[in-house]
Structure formats: structure tokens, C-alpha cells
Amino acid sequence: MEIKKSANVGEWLDQRLGTTMLAKVLMTEYWIPKNINFLWAFGVVLMTLFALLVISGMFLLMYYKPDTALAFNSVNYTIMQEVAYGWLFRHIHAVAASVVFLVIYIHMLTGIYYGSYKSGREMIWISGMLLFVTFSAEGFSGYMLPWGQMSYWAAQVITNLFGAIPFIGPDLVIWIRGDYVVSDATLTRFFALHVFILPLIIMGIIGLHFYSLRIPHVNNQEGEEVDFEAEARKYKAGEKKKAKVIPFWPVFLSKDIFVLSVFLVFFFYLVFFHYGFAMDPINFIPADSMKTPPHIYPEWYFLWSYEVLRGFFFSADLGLIAFGIANVIFFLMPWLDRDPAVKPAAKRPYFFIWFWVLIVDLIGLTIWGKLPPTGVNAYIGFVFSILFLALFIILPMISKAERNGGAK
């Protein structure tokens, strides 16, 4: 191709990078169905939260010291009291880390409700689940860094879980910690994971997640199969009202930005006036390996799986197996749901009940995950845990029944 003298910077770049084509593929001719609602905006909300986490994290990184002797004060004194606006970046980071899981759960449950994980959209679901797992690891590794009592004991308890793996368990725990207990070696390696390795992996998977959307396209409220090429032709021919699609930019994003704006009002309200929920008071006591806090519990977003672990209060091994299953079972949604038709739960009578029972169960697990596991609470937790596993055992059966005509 012959390079011509360009009239402006845009043309100059286009000749060298094909920016016009790139913008079409990624933005102006990336087609989104019209038949969607505000729940489809949560992907962009998540992207924004991730950006907020990265930016606030970079500023925290400039004063944070990954050393057991210095970490606590570098956060609670240097960043919080000395650094100008250090409190702001910490509160943004803490609140975003908590709220990002709320939005991830909404995003996931939207996918489940509308059946957006099947018929060609499996890779969207799997890459999304990989993001959930890596975000969980990122949340856990970051929680260790302030080196408070909850940081320390959460790390102790979670790394201990690996000890239950047959044969290699006890050695694996020491290997993960780099010491017989959670210590300086553990802090520095989790620091490396939190600020570089995991964010890098997350960015890679976000790329994969977006890419996986490009071929099967975004699902819609009715699960309608849209002929994107034909609809795009209509749109480009000027029949914008008749076309069932809109371009990602500027049309779809303009709606997204509205939802995002509403969300950010809520988010910054939390950052400025209600950040306390994201900062456990026990974590303002420096880590002490000789003193265990009376109740150790994870942040709210891990409570449901923590309760599945504790629910089997009579057997630590069964609890661990159930916990392991709870953490991977959602990966299998595309195969556990035996009905290939993409339909919202509202049009699937059995699945509709299944979905809302799942929601109630997850909320129940979350509430009981925070309560001390004594007396009747232990039994209630057990019932919720069994129900969680049972839901995934019956899902193939009820979805098969619906495929065979049970749903009309």
C-alpha cells in the first residue's frame, strides 16, 4: 500500500494503523441488540470499577511498604494521615473492591436468568467465571496487605484449607506461605501477586471476555436469535427504527453511561459517607500471630461459600469438598442446563423457581456465614448448604423436563 501525504493526524494514523477499520470493528459496527435493559450495562460498570481499582491502587502503591514491620503503619498512618488525599484513594480502593463483587454477582445472575451462557455463548460464560476466580484471588491477596488482625487470620485460615488436600496438603501450605505460619515471606509474595501478577492475568482475561462476545454477540431479553448482518444492513441503510440492532458506539454506550452515572453517584456516596462497611474494625488492630480474634469471617462477598464450608459442621472434610464444588460448579452452567433454547427464566416455569430459590439460598448462606456457627445456626447453615448442592443436582433434570415440553 502506498503511503500518501496525509491531511491530518487521523489520516496519518489510519494509513499506518488502520484506525478507521479498528474503530468500526470495536465500536461503530459492533452491533448490540435493542431489546435489552439496564442490566446489560453492568459490564461497563465493572470495567469502570476495575479502572478505579487500578488507578487508586497505583497511588496506594507509592507509599505502601510490603514488610511485616512496616505494612500496618504505612497504610494506617502514612497513607491515611500523612499523604494528601491518601484516605481518598484507600477508601476508593476498599469500597470498589467490595462493590465490584456486588456488581459481578448481578452480572453473573443476569447471565443465568437470561440463559446467556449457552448456544455459542459458552466461552463468554467461562471467561467471565475465570474473571470471578481471579478477582477472588485478587481480593484475598489484597486483604492481607494492611497486615491487621483480620488480614493475618483470614490468610492463616484460607491457606490452611490447602492442608486438607491428600498427601501434599501440609507441605503445600508451607510452600504457599514460605514459612510454617503466615509471615513476612507470605506478605511479600501476596504483594507481588496482588499488584502485578494477578492484575496482569485479569487484564488478559478481560481481553478474552470481550473477544468472546464478538462472534456470538450479546444476548437479549427474549433470547431472540437476531440476524446481526441483516439488521446491521438495515441500520446502515438508515432504517434505524426498524433495525433490531444499534452500534456499540455511540448509541449503546450513551445508555450505558447513563446507568454508569447513576451507579457512580451511589458509589461515591459510599466512598465519602459510608466507607465503613468495607473496612473491618478488627483489621485496625495490628496482626498478632499469638492472639486469634474470637470470630473470623471473610468479607461479605465470600460469606456464601464460607458458609458452605462451615455448613457441614460435623465433618471438616465434607465441608471442604462442598466448598470446592461450590467454587467451580458455576463454570458448568452451560452443561448442567440441558435445555438448549435461550429463554429468560420468566418463560421457563421450573427454571424460574430454581433461579429464585438459588437467590434466596445465596442470601441465606451469606447471612448465616456471618453468624457464629453455634446452636441452631449450625443446622440452618447446614440446610442452606445442602440446598445449594441439591439445586445443582436437580438442574439437569428440570431443564431436561422443560426441553421435553414441560414449559409452555
Partner: protein, 171 residues
């Protein structure tokens, strides 16, 4: 010419295989080195061994030792305290209770009550006798005996001696 092509192909295959093997070996060694970077450092391993001289202890005295980040209780038993063949550590004819001082219920550190010769956990009221065996409350099992070795009048925590193995075999 065919033979020449064949040799070229053979050469490329050979070179490809050599490259593949070398790269795989390099990747394997790198993974091994990466794994080893996370192993406990020599200084950490050395600090994981604690030597306690118990020869000077008084009967009924409790000493608290930090071992691998955990508290270890060493109690020199008096004649009044019942002996426990499955748990007592015998050093130069004297009986000692050597346990990791962590409640087996939820990991709190129990306190020793000398008047009653027992350990009581403040968190949920669990009680252990002078041998570290759970006698009341939620703890599901006795306090854990750490790996130890006896060297004269000293107890070495962090190494498995014959006395430790004998206790474990009886447990």
C-alpha cells in the same frame, strides 16, 4: 535432488526436535526454580527449630515458648497430676505436657489455671486437663503435640525424635 530435499527436511526436523527438547528442558528447569523460590528460606527453616532447656523447671511450672509462630505450653507435671502414657513427654525421669497452646475448637489460646491444674479457653469455655486433653465444652480433640526430640535435659521442637514417634503411634 530428492535426496537433497529429504536431507533438508531431515535437518529441519532434527533441528526442530533439538529446539523443542532444549526449550522444554529450559521451561522445566525454570518452573522448578520458580517453585523453589517459594520454599521456606534457610533462615526460616533454622528459626523453625526451637531448643528448650527444661532441666531447671519447677514442678507445676508452665513455660510458654513461641514455636513456628504458635504458642507452645510446656508444663512440668507435679506428683498430684495424673500421668498420661499416651501424651506425657518424659525427660530425665520427669513428666512434661508439651502441647501447641491453641484451642482445637476455633484457635484461641487457652489460659493455664494453676489452682485447678487445667487449661481454660476464654472464647467459648473449653477446658483441657493437665495433659492437654479436652474435658469440657466445644473443643473436639486434645491440644496437639508438636514434633519434638529429646536431647539430654532439652526438648528440641521441630524435629521428630523416637519419643515423639512413639506417642504418635499410640494416639
Amino acid at each position: 535432488m530428492a535426496g537433497c530435499d529429504c536431507n533438508r527436511r531431515g535437518f529441519i526436523k532434527g533441528a526442530g526436535a533439538a529446539l523443542g527438547v532444549t526449550a522444554a528442558a529450559g521451561a522445566g528447569l525454570t518452573a522448578y526454580a520458580m517453585k523453589k523460590t517459594w520454599d521456606p528460606l534457610p533462615s526460616v527453616v533454622a528459626a523453625g527449630k526451637v531448643i528448650v532447656d527444661v532441666s531447671g523447671m519447677e514442678e507445676g511450672q508452665l513455660s510458654l515458648v513461641e514455636y513456628r509462630g504458635k504458642p507452645v505450653f510446656i508444663l512440668k507435671k507435679t506428683g498430684d497430676m495424673p500421668s498420661n502414657e499416651k501424651r506425657d513427654v518424659v525427660v530425665e525421669g520427669n513428666r512434661y505436657t508439651v502441647v501447641i497452646g491453641i484451642c482445637t475448637h476455633l484457635g484461641c489460646i487457652p489460659a493455664y489455671l494453676p489452682g485447678e491444674s487445667m487449661f481454660k479457653c476464654a472464647c467459648h469455655g473449653g477446658e483441657f486437663d493437665s495433659s492437654g486433653v479436652n474435658t469440657f465444652g466445644p473443643p473436639p480433640k486434645p491440644m496437639v503435640i508438636p514434633e519434638f526430640k529429646i536431647e539430654g535435659g532439652k526438648i528440641v521442637l521441630g524435629e521428630e525424635g523416637p519419643e515423639y514417634k512413639k506417642l504418635m503411634a499410640m494416639a
